[in-house]
Amino acid sequence: MNSYLRLVYRNLRANLDRASLFFELIFPLFFIFVQGFGINGIVPPFDIGNGTFVSYSLFLAAGAVTLTVINGGTNAGTQLWFDRKNGMFEQILMGPFTRAQYILSIILATLIIGVAGSLLVFVFAYPVVGARFVFTLGGGLLIAAALFLGTVFFGAFAIALSVALKSSETFQVVSTFAFFVFLFTSTVFFPASSAPAAIRTVSMLNPLTYTTDIFRAGLFGSATALTSIELAVLAVEAAGMFIVAVLAFRRIRV
């Protein structure tokens, strides 16, 4: 079996906490079925681009699916922390693998968790989002690109954070805080156009904004010329963060 496959399989078997995964799925569903329906009655349908009007519950449901991407990303940092704490990081690097294979295997495992989690949430949320979802090849590709690039960014971000912080407890606290910042300055809960100028500016730097916007565009067929620019920005951010993670990873003291 290929070295990457072996490492990815081992990451998925050894380092995933099933209880955490369960709650990572419940979290977005809670937004969709509680917050979405709760606020739906007081917010009229609005334009998300290309003349596409959607209700707030639909808007939020799409955002909540991409929320799974950020949760999947946290797993990358957790995997690395478990391995460092339990001595498996050094053990694997003294085995028939390179550092590059190890870090890529974490990213790949994170991609599987992020994409599979998103699809699962999508399936559960289908009674809500299915009302407007029409599958097209272009839309499918946009959805796949959003999930892929978003997971790479947040996986790499979590790895860089995990390397920089001295304890797993600090990692949990800081990553939770950082991900809340990403979440509430993105377009998961509200369109950037309706936010104050400061938040709108931060939102334009936030990769979760682009992940969510591209995902929505793919889901509701609302892609515009802006979508391809958003795709390019997200790709650059994901590549940049991946490089940061690799550089940080190379500095780990053994």
Partner: protein
């Protein structure tokens, strides 16, 4: 290995270390805490790049052929290493899978190792619930699921009871007989003597000597151990004056049994001194005899002499 060194900033952890290891040899690496044993292992297993020097491991250059080296070695680290979300058996299976061992072979080897190393009672237990001794056994066992030519054992018997320790040492001996080469670090010198063909003593990052256990004992065991007991039990005054006596390299006191053990190269001058000091303090020596030098005595002498030669570490 030729002149291999490792610096961490201005701190020299390993200083121009050189030695050769033969195939199917058990090569012991002894040294006090912080002497550079683990750093040497980390360099030889390609985890840490050397600062200078050269080494060839199993015919492969350490600097340029790291992956080829790692494909042929096994490592039992000093620190715990385990997959916390798995049971013992699954953890062994996945470790074998990482090494690309076919499933049927993994199953067969796991059965054999679990039986050989007495792991039946905890084979189904989650690794997170194991005692430190059980984790140690797991670390050793899983390394034998894959083939290797050279095994690094960094204090592999820490936390094990004497029975399990002997089982492991005999298991290692059997594997060496089948062709395995072992690089072995330990603090338990009886183990080193039992297992190792040759020993290197490292102190302050430098190799002090390399020889067989017997030769080390003979060469540095001009020292003998004088063991004695006092009728009155123990005496701090006596211990203090004997410790500063020129001929005594080391004096240890077994508080429980009330036995003093003085390591010396000149028992003929130390014995009268013991009687002289005892008389001065109004004590009576109830028994005294000269025992053979142990490897521990030789080790202590070597390291103590090395420290005395140059306590700053500079040569």
């Amino acid at each position: 290995m030729q002149e291999l060194s490792k610096h961490f900033g201005s701190n020299v952890a390993v200083d121009r270390v050189s030695f050769d290891i033969d195939r199917s040899e058990v090569f012991g690496f002894l040294g006090p805490n912080g002497a550079g044993k683990t750093t040497t292992i980390k360099m030889l297993t390609t985890l840490l790049p050397p600062s200078s020097g050269r080494a060839v491991v199993l015919g492969h250059d350490l600097r340029t052929e790291g992956r080829k080296i790692r494909q042929q070695i096994g490592v039992v680290q000093q620190q715990d290493s385990f997959d916390q979300g798995l049971s013992v058996e699954t953890s062994m299976d996945i470790y074998g899978m990482l090494w690309d061992v076919p499933k049927a072979e993994r199953r067969r080897k796991i059965e054999d190792l679990v039986h050989r190393l007495g792991m039946e009672e905890f084979r189904k237990k989650p690794t997170i619930d194991l005692s430190s001794g059980q984790r140690r056994r797991l670390q050793v066992a899983r390394e034998f699921i894959h083939d290797m030519d050279l095994l690094f054992l960094d204090e592999p018997t820490v936390g094990l009871d004497p029975m399990v320790r002997r089982t492991l040492l005999d298991f290692f001996k059997e594997k060496v007989h089948e062709g395995l080469t072992i690089f072995f670090t330990t603090h338990i010198l009886e183990e080193a003597e039992y297992l190792c063909d040759r020993l290197a003593v490292i102190n302050q990052g430098r190799i002090v000597d390399v020889d067989t256990p017997e030769n080390l004992k003979r060469r540095f065991g001009s020292a003998k151990a004088v063991e004695f007991k006092l009728l009155q039990g123990t005496s701090k005054e006596l211990a203090s004056s004997l410790s500063s006596f020129v001929g005594v390299t080391r004096l240890v006191e077994d508080g429980g049994a009330g036995v003093y053990r003085a390591t010396t190269a000149r028992p003929e001058s130390v014995i009268p001194e013991i009687y002289r000091q005892a008389e001065r303090l109004g004590l009576t020596v109830s028994s005294i005899y000269i025992s053979e030098t142990t490897l521990e005595d030789a080790f202590i002498n070597l390291v103590t002499e090395d420290d005395k030669t140059d306590p700053t570490g500079a040569r």
